[in-house]
Amino acid sequence: MDKLINEFSVGLFFWQLLLFVGLVLLLRKFAWKPILDSVEKRESGIEDALQAAENAKLEMQNLQADNEKLLNEARAERETMLKEARELKAKMIADAEGDAQAKANKMIEQAQAAIESEKKSAMAELKGQVASLSLEIAEKVVKDELSSKDKQMELVESMLGDAKLN
């Protein structure tokens, strides 16, 4: 211990203290602060980058889910559109068929009505002709065969009988 105290050099102690404190202060300004700051900046940068990558991954997943959803919606829409088109087609066909039927029916009705009226008018004409013919016949019979009463009667009756056949 005596030797230790004897060996103790005040000068060396003074210089060591001075130089070391100076070294700490200089290194703090020119080395430790910039080094530790850069390292910290780098570390936080890495952390941020990792976080960003994680976020991007999540976003990607969300996007994919959205895409899937959109696709499904589109598919469903297409389905409904196709269905509607099909229904429309069927309806149009049905409508067209109905119209055509109605038209045809109408035409048939009109034809029938025309036929009926033609027939009526033909019948009326026929009746007129029959009446005038019978009048002519009657005149001739009256002229020719009004010599005997019996003959007249006979003639009338037979003629009436013919007329009825018509």
Binding site: L4, N6, E7, F8, S9, V10, G11, L12, F13, F14, W15, Q16, L17, L19, F20, V21, G22, L23, V24, L26, L27, R28, F30, A31, W32, K33, P34, I35, L36, S38, V39, K41, R42, G45
Partner: protein
């Protein structure tokens, strides 16, 4: 680019083992310069003296010395400035002292170095010794730039260059280039495994500068102690005392109320116990940093002494089995010292962080 730090590290380790051969050479010369003492006893004395000398600080930066045939000592190295406070500032070059062999004159006073300490003497340079072989001469306050101070300065500059260039490399990109690749994991280790677990996420930033500086400073300077430069800064009690004093000051000046509360009025124990505990806790404030300074000092000093003693054994054995065995042992020990260099830096940093953590800990539980 990526291999560069690894290569330089290997290079560094290679250099680290060179002192063995250099020291061996020096010892050889020492044997030659001691013609008076012969035999094994003489060699032992020399080795002991050499180790003692190595553990001391010196006023010039000498790498090694040898003796010419005519008995003249030649030192290879360069002188450093001597700064004394002795009734005014006295500055002169350490080359004037001639390694304790000459008297230096500065400002009307005469100085002589004796066992690497400077004493004021008369013009003839007489050192008066007392009964315990301690000089009784006046010892002026010595603020010289000694070998250790010079090394501290160089290490400081080296660290400034290393870490400011590392800091600059971050400006070009998120990852450091060159040396930073090797240093960044260590910096992060100190932050994530020493500072944050011990101090806590809330306060650790305040202490980071000190913890990082002290770790790299002790580590680099310990490694330098294993190089052939022969510097050994951390085995000076003044150096470790200065470092521990800083830990002590920072701990107590940043401490919160709860820390002082736990020292003077320990909560949760009976009143009588509190009175008993207060002086013990108060003593603890000083013992904790004291253990830091002794641990670092003792580990590095012991490492140097053991390593050099084993190298010295080579010259005592003087046969090929013993010498090669002690070489192998010295080699293994040098490897161990590399580990100790890092380990002591780690322990000092770790314990400092622990003390800082205690100072800012928040006790909500009682």
């Amino acid at each position: 680019m990526q291999r560069k730090p690894v290569v330089s590290l290997l290079f560094f380790f290679l250099i680290a083992f060179l002192p063995l051969s250099v020291l061996a050479q020096e010892d050889m010369h020492l044997k030659e310069i001691a013609p008076g003492v012969e035999g094994e006893q003489g060699v032992k004395e020399e080795i002991k003296e050499y180790i003692d000398h190595h553990l001391l600080d010196s006023h010039d930066f000498s790498l090694f010395s040898y003796t010419k045939d005519n008995g003249e000592h030649v030192y290879v190295g360069f002188p450093l400035p001597v700064i004394l406070w002795d009734d005014g500032l006295k500055v002169f070059s350490s080359s004037k002292l001639h390694h304790g062999e000459a008297v230096a004159e500065a400002g009307g006073n005469y100085y002589k170095s004796y066992h690497n300490k400077i004493y004021r003497t008369n013009a003839e340079g007489d050192i008066n010794l007392d009964d315990h072989h301690h000089p009784t001469n006046v010892k002026p306050l010595d603020f010289s730039i000694t070998k250790n101070v010079f090394t501290i300065l160089i290490v400081g500059l080296l660290m400034l260059w290393m870490f400011s260039s590392m800091a600059k490399s971050y400006k070009k990109g998120a990852l450091p280039k060159g040396m930073g690749r090797f240093l960044e994991p260590i910096v992060l280790y100190i932050r994530d495994d020493i500072a944050i677990p011990n101090i806590g996420k809330k306060h650790y930033k305040r202490y980071m500068s000190f913890l990082l500086t002290i770790f790299f400073f002790i580590w680099i300077i310990n490694l330098l102690g294993l190089t052939p430069l022969g510097v050994n800064v951390t085995n000076n009690i003044a150096v470790t005392f200065a470092l521990a004093l800083l830990t002590f000051l920072i701990t107590n000046f940043t401490a919160n109320k709860s820390y002082w509360g736990h020292i003077f009025w320990m909560p949760g124990v009976p009143k009588l116990m509190r009175i008993v505990l207060a002086p013990i806790e108060l003593l603890g404030i000083f013992i904790k940093p004291f253990s830091l300074l002794i641990r670092l000092y003792a580990n590095i000093t012991a490492g140097h002494i053991v390593l050099m003693s084993i190298i010295g054994l080579m010259f005592i054995f003087k046969n090929w089995i013993g010498s090669s065995l002690s070489f192998g042992l010295a080699f293994a020990l040098a490897l161990l010292e590399l580990l100790v260099a890092a380990l002591q830096a780690y322990i000092f940093t770790m314990l400092s962080a622990l003390y800082f953590g205690q100072a800012v800990e928040e006790h909500d539980d009682h």
